[in-house]
Amino acid sequence: MNIVDMLLTHAPALTIAIPLLGAFLTPLISRVSEKGRNIFAIIIVGITALFVFLMASEILANGPMTYVFGSTAATVQQSTVIRILFEVDALSIFMAIIGIILSFVAVVYSYAFMEKNTGLDKYYTLLLLMTTGMLGMMLTGDMFNFFVFLEITSIASAALVAFWTNKAKAVEAGFKYIVISTIGALFVLFAIALLYGQYDALNMAKIAQSLGISGFTFIDKIALVLFIAALAMKGGLAPMHMWLPDAYGQAPASISLLLIGATQASLYGLFRIVFTVYGEVISLPAISIGWILVLLGLITMLIGVIMAIIQTDFKRLIGYGAVAELGYMALAVGTGLTIVANADPNITLQTAPFAMKAITGGLFHVINDALDIGLLFLVAGAVYYATKETSLNKLGGLARNMKYTTIFFIIGLLAVSGLPPFNGFASKLLIYESTYQLNPILSIVAILSSILLLAIFVKVLHSVFLGPALPKYETVREVPKSMLLAMAVIAGIIIVFGLFPQVIVTNLVEPAANALVNNSGYLQWLTGGF
């Protein structure tokens, strides 16, 4: 076995193990050199990114990969699964790509952004742990393992939200976040225990199979309700979105960026459980689950946009923008489910064209939301770095001194409000077209929210960057190059996605959507596939 094959075989484990190793090493390296530690963190995330892309090329070519921890022997013993197993399909790797891009940009951005703070060894440790937890949630095929990684992500991100402990609001946001996350995680654990008690299995594929055999008992329904409630809460869907603008707004900008990834990992968990674990029985409750998701999405979208209008803090405003964007994803995926459930029983998710389109649009929007909102957060962080101010009422006229930052903000604002030729347009168009099939009102509301978002961010552009130069900001200078580089990476991806959306949709998003709606590929290894 040559070295590339070996690396590929072990890639799912190494993707988790390497950032973990990096996190454990960071305190030791921090003793030796401060600068070395920053570069070490960048290198570790870079290596992880290489593994993720290596896996992506393999999975998109040859189908899902599995990895059994602790044994090379057969994974299926007495038709049950004893050991922990990672199962990486196109959807997992799609999410992992988003996560690793966000993490890489965050760690590059931190290099200059966090420079003047103390406690940076712990900051980098927690940043790497958050990356680990996020990737673990996305790659794992084991329920309890999912819970463990959920907790790693929650604890690391709650601590990082409260990083600036001298600000009372930051500490409060961190406390709210950890309380909400813990309650959510405990309900997830309770639901896992309910399923375990019935089927004596923790593997997702195994539970899916057992569910298909046993039908859909009352306990399964309770577990499903708990899963949806807890993960929607962790994913920031209304009415439990309250923690999200607080946490996003108070965290350092690089952490706000990573929090997007953490939130989306929870949404991924929601989709994974609804579609894959309950995939065998999903046709029974599809209408209600679909409509619940649609309604949650709609409410989330409206609350996000309306609350964004009245905000006077730059980062909180973007936080509510992020809430609105989350609504689009839930709306799209819910629409997909509902269309199928409404249609003829012979039509499945794969054969209903608009359902497929809705889910593709929703998933494409996941990556676009991460990039667009992420870029806006980075710009807000850059403004804070240069002026030490986040209040919209006090900022103004920054465009003269911060040309590049202004350009990045304009790119972000056009992308987030779904204007062509940026990436937000591509995914929102798919969402509008498909929701129109379900109910025209839905797409009208969605379009209206987009327009409102555009108006809100143009107002921000005006009050922060344009207008007369304020005397107190005359000495403001452009942010350091590494921060500009981080923003440029995201802006570059946004432009590429906007110019060639079809390439991305065909090669990356559609395989992910197929993997989501069709769980037979996920269950294949139980019967000795690949």
């Binding site: 463990v148 604890i155 406390f175 813990t182 309650i183 654990l189 225990a193 375990y196």
Partner: protein, 115 residues
């Protein structure tokens, strides 16, 4: 159903935990509520692995192998307890910080949306 009393205990613990979280205004009491909730879930995990008349899954070298309770729920509970400790430590240190800022543990001191 007498056999379901352990499950009802679990439900009771979870309800007490939720009640504390929803109705108590003191941050420390909220943390205690989460801990009670956690105990409820841990107890549930443990009850799942018990078989009537079973012993702990530890082999002692005796020839006759008695019925053993399931080892996996116990391992899961162990993990869950350690996670609980970690979360508790973080929550308490955040509460200490909040107390430093406001000089109070009342939940209304947590600033809302407004500036």
């Amino acid at each position: 159903m007498i056999a379901n009393i352990p499950y009802l205990t679990v439900a009771g613990l979870i309800i007490i935990g939720l009640y504390t979280l929803l109705f108590k205004k003191n941050l420390i009491k909220m943390v205690i509520g989460i801990t009670i909730l956690q105990s409820g879930v841990n107890l549930f995990l443990i009850t799942l692995g018990y078989r009537m008349g079973s012993v702990a899954p530890i082999f002692t070298g005796n020839a006759d192998n008695p019925v053993m309770s399931y080892p996996v729920p116990q391992a899961l509970t162990l993990t869950s307890i350690v996670i609980g400790v970690a979360v508790l430590a973080l929550m308490l240190s955040l509460v200490i910080h909040i107390y430093r800022h406001h000089g109070s543990l009342h939940v209304s001191k947590l600033g809302g949306d407004d500036q």
